[in-house]
């Protein structure tokens, strides 16, 4: 009979919220969630932000982030109710029986200490092993997780290794004290896709080889499908559906689960490429002040009016730098940019007000792109005033029209950004860009910070607005699913160069160059066994070469 490792019964979690201008009130984050986990198995917790998945994960260490409190239910680990253990009992449990792998290893490691000291800290502090033995175990784990130079990487400081490596070191840190349960809290979300696949494979192998039980928390169903035995779908702190991995992916019962499984479903027909471009970037090379390294090398792309050019690449590929060059924030060192048939001054200060108006921008973090002390009306009204001199009733009317266009209707004009959801904030930013009546909007990772269903809504809105207004988008993203959904043409960037460029149908069709192939094949697919398939395929190709 399988042994039960973790048994959560009727878990209720509350927090105190402080809404602006109102007295504080208690809100329930998790409403009576129950599940069990057998030894050596993996349970995937999946849901959008606010679903309570991290909160539930941390509750199996009896830990509440911020003012979060566990107010009801039982958490049985190895046959003990850990909520009744008291502070001393919890300390004995944390870091030994249950360990934690955080989303951002870069923030979760102490910057002032070398990695090895942090990896073996609990093992030493609990007297489980001597220093030499613990270090040997850590080195073994480093090797198991496929880290380069496993013997010496422990001497390095967190800032000296890459994000993907750091995430593996954190996994080694979690496995070092031989725990029974590891909580993986979005361990690959912050990584590039080509890095994610390696880390995911390393984590899966480590779970398998050490026989540890795991809770795997993520918002990406395709990722969790690769590592889990069971999946629990959460929404607003309630269980939507709970079943085996296969059942959830292949035969979802609930509408919400079905929506998650099929979320990447926008279909966008490619437009005719043979039109004179509105934006033309020719042989642009750029470097940051005081450096000799070219972040952009000889970049040439065209964008026809009313169409979408997707710039795809991983962090460090130069895609955001290209946006900075086009907007004039970083003047190009060489090359030229023509816009609507005229040459654009490379430097922002040399551009006319009309140049500025016709080229707008939307950013990844809608939160920080708006003044928190201004109402939606002020935010959207500013470009109306600045570019068109609208005032008073006229301005208000136009703001309302724009709000209707972004499907936000009445009652939002007087709100402050803090009173809007993530998707609504991004909509307001879109309205602000649209208010200037631009010919081109640069969208810099505008959906990356949003939940998949919300992101889908934003993409649909952008496509509708393009059809209505004929505005062109330069769409910067690392997410290939987004690209498929929205692009007419694609430029794949790698190390500052355009690796592959052309209409969507050409770029996404074989034969591929090596990098595009790696990039495309690394995007998790919503099917069981995808990870093994890809890795086997790569191994065969590697052996063939």
């Amino acid at each position: 009979m399988p042994e039960t490792l973790l048994d959560v019964r009727g878990l209720v979690i509350e927090a105190t919220s402080y809404p602006p201008g109102e007295p504080p009130k208690d809100v329930t984050l998790v409403h009576g969630v129950s599940f069990t986990l057998e030894k050596g198995k993996v349970l995937g917790l999946i849901g959008e932000s606010g679903a309570g998945k991290s909160t539930i994960g941390l509750s199996s260490m009896a830990y509440g982030r911020g003012g979060v409190r566990i107010t009801g239910g039982e958490v049985w680990l190895n046959g003990r109710d850990i909520l009744k253990g008291g502070a001393g009992g919890l300390r004995a449990l944390r870091g030994k029986e249950v360990t934690y792998v955080a989303q951002s290893a870069a923030a979760a490691f102490n910057p002032a200490k070398p990695l090895m000291e942090q990896v073996i800290e609990t093992t030493l502090a609990r007297g489980m092993m001597g220093r030499a033995e613990a270090e040997a175990r850590a080195v073994d784990l480093f090797r198991q997780l496929g880290l380069p130079n496993p013997e010496t990487i422990g001497k390095r400081f967190p800032h000296q290794v890459s994000g993907g490596q750091l995430q593996r070191v954190m996994t080694a840190m979690a496995l070092c004290p031989k725990p029974d349960l590891v909580i993986f809290d979005e361990p690959t979300t912050a990584l590039d896709v080509t890095t994610q696949i390696d880390v995911l494979a390393a984590i899966k192998r480590a779970i398998h080889e050490t026989g540890v039980g795991a809770l795997y928390i993520t918002h990406d169903l395709a990722v969790v499908a690769q590592v889990s035995d069971h999946i629990m779908v959460l929404r607003h702190g309630k269980t939507v559906e709970y079943g085996t991995c296969q059942q959830i992916i292949e035969a979802p019962q609930e509408d919400y689960t079905r929506a998650l499984v099929s979320v990447r479903s926008i279909d966008h027909a490619e437009k005719n490429p043979d039109v004179a471009p509105v934006l033309s970037v020719q042989n642009v090379t750029a470097r940051y002040k005081g450096t000799h390294f070219d972040v952009l090398k000889n970049v040439t792309v065209d964008l026809p009016p009313g169409q979408t050019l997707a710039i795809v690449g991983e962090s460090g590929s130069g895609k955001s730098t290209l946006a900075r060059v086009i907007t004039g924030l970083l003047p190009a060192a060489q090359g030229r940019i023509t816009f609507d048939g005229r040459d654009l001054s490379p430097d922002l200060s040399g551009r006319s007000r009309n140049d500025l108006r016709e080229l707008q921008m939307i950013y990844q973090m809608a939160d920080v792109a708006m003044n928190p002390r201004q109402t939606v009306e002020t935010i959207i009204g500013r470009p109306l005033e600045f570019y068109f001199g609208l005032r008073g009733a006229e301005k208000r009317k136009r703001v309302q029209e724009l709000l209707d266009q972004i499907e936000m209707g009445k009652g939002f004009a007087d709100r402050y950004p803090a009173e809007l959801s993530g998707g609504q904030k991004q909509r307001v930013c879109i309205a602000r860009a649209l208010a200037a009546k631009p010919k081109l909007i640069i969208c810099d990772e505008v959906t990356s910070a949003l939940d998949p269903l919300v992101a889908d809504g934003i993409l649909k809105l952008l496509l509708e607005l393009q059809a209505q207004e004929g505005v062109a988008y330069l769409f910067i993203t690392h997410d290939l699913a987004t690209v498929r959904a929205i692009a007419d043409r694609i430029a794949v960037m790698f190390k500052g160069k355009v690796q592959r460029y052309g209409p969507k149908s050409d770029v996404l069709a074989p034969p591929f160059d090596d990098y595009t192939d790696l990039l495309l094949s690394s995007v998790p697919e919503m099917k069981l066994g995808w990870l093994e398939q890809v890795l086997d395929h790569r191994k065969m190709e590697g052996a063939g070469n």
């Binding site: 941390l58 830990y63 982030r65 944390r94 360990t99 200490k113 400081f157 800032h159």
Partner: protein, 319 residues
């Protein structure tokens, strides 16, 4: 390729020297525009215009300011601070003795105050918003709020007059034993510790609380470490830079800000020396004292900068 830390350190030292030079200009100009006339104050009311003119000639007061500045600076660079106008004696040996006394007093106060402040800061964080934190905050706030001379008289009243534990006059002389010296300066040390403790403790508390918000502190908590181990081992090393800065400012204050305390306890340090000679308009002595004070300030802040640089693992261990 030069290690970036060496480059930064060299830059800071060069900047410190430049700052010291600028301070010497300010001190010189400042003493020139002071009202009053040395010759007048030496000779008193009975001086005739002729004797005044002779004395000015003798003291070199008629030379152009620029010439006097460079001859003064040249002397300083050779270790010659000039002669006091009032008694004609060289300044350096007299000032050196006073400076040693002041440094001794400051060092004794620092040896107690710095570790105490940091430990109290750690304790405050461990028990934040609970009674130990509130008690420590209340007491240290009270001691920085009371003026030092009043603190001085309070400790004299209790420790010297009521209980006769320590002498109320901090008399020291050449050839005095180390133990006797410590005994003599007991009361001013207590006053100075109370005066600087609050700033350092509160800064330590604030800096560590700031670090306690970091994700890696949550990692440490989820490792099941003891609260004090988390604060001392994971938070403190990341709060070194702001703590060292405020410690150094307070150490500088211990050297240059002790005038009142030295006067209260009649301690023969720099402060008393400076006050005496300001009242006599003895410009070379005032300039020398100013330069020494500036040097102490700049030097200690330079050390704070260097420690902050060295405490940053990104600079110590570049990629």
């Amino acid at each position: 390729m030069v290690h970036p830390v060496i480059k930064l350190v060299a830059q800071r030292i060069a900047l410190g020297l430049l700052l010291l030079l600028a301070a010497s200009v300010l001190i010189f100009v400042g003493t020139q525009i002071l009202p009053g006339d040395v010759a007048q104050s030496i000779l008193g009311q009975s001086a005739t215009p002729e004797t005044l003119a002779n004395l000015r000639q003798e003291l070199g007061l008629n030379e152009p300011a620029l010439t006097r500045y460079f001859s003064w600076l040249g002397g300083v660079l050779h270790g010659d601070l000039g002669n006091a106008l009032t008694n004609g004696q060289p300044i350096a040996p007299a000032l050196g003795k006073r400076l040693l006394n002041t440094l001794f007093l400051a060092a004794c106060a620092a040896v107690i105050a710095v570790p105490l402040a940091i430990i109290l800061g750690l304790v405050s964080v461990r028990y934040r918003n609970r009674w130990p934190d509130k008690l420590i905050s209340a007491v240290t706030l009270a001691t920085i709020s009371v003026p030092e001379f009043l603190l001085g008289y309070i400790v004299i009243f209790f420790l010297a007059v009521q209980y006769r534990l320590l002498p109320s006059l901090s008399t020291v002389y050449d050839g005095m034993g180390f133990g006797d010296r410590l005994y003599a300066i007991g009361l001013p040390v207590i006053v100075l510790v109370l005066a600087v403790l609050g700033h350092m403790m509160r800064m330590t508390r604030a800096a560590i609380l700031n670090v306690m918000q970091s994700a890696y502190i949550e990692t440490a908590e989820l490792k099941g470490l003891r609260p004090f181990a988390i604060i001392a081992r994971h938070a403190l090393p990341n709060a070194v830079a702001p703590v060292v800065n405020v410690v150094m400012i307070n150490l500088a204050y211990l050297v240059v800000g002790v005038v009142v305390v030295e006067v209260v306890f009649v301690y023969p340090g720099m402060g008393q020396y400076l006050v005496d000679h300001v009242s006599k308009r003895d410009v070379p002595v005032v300039q020398a004292c100013g330069l020494v004070f500036a040097g102490v300030y700049i030097g200690l802040n330079l050390i704070a900068d260097l420690v902050s640089i060295l405490a940053n693992p990104r600079l110590r261990h570049p990629k």
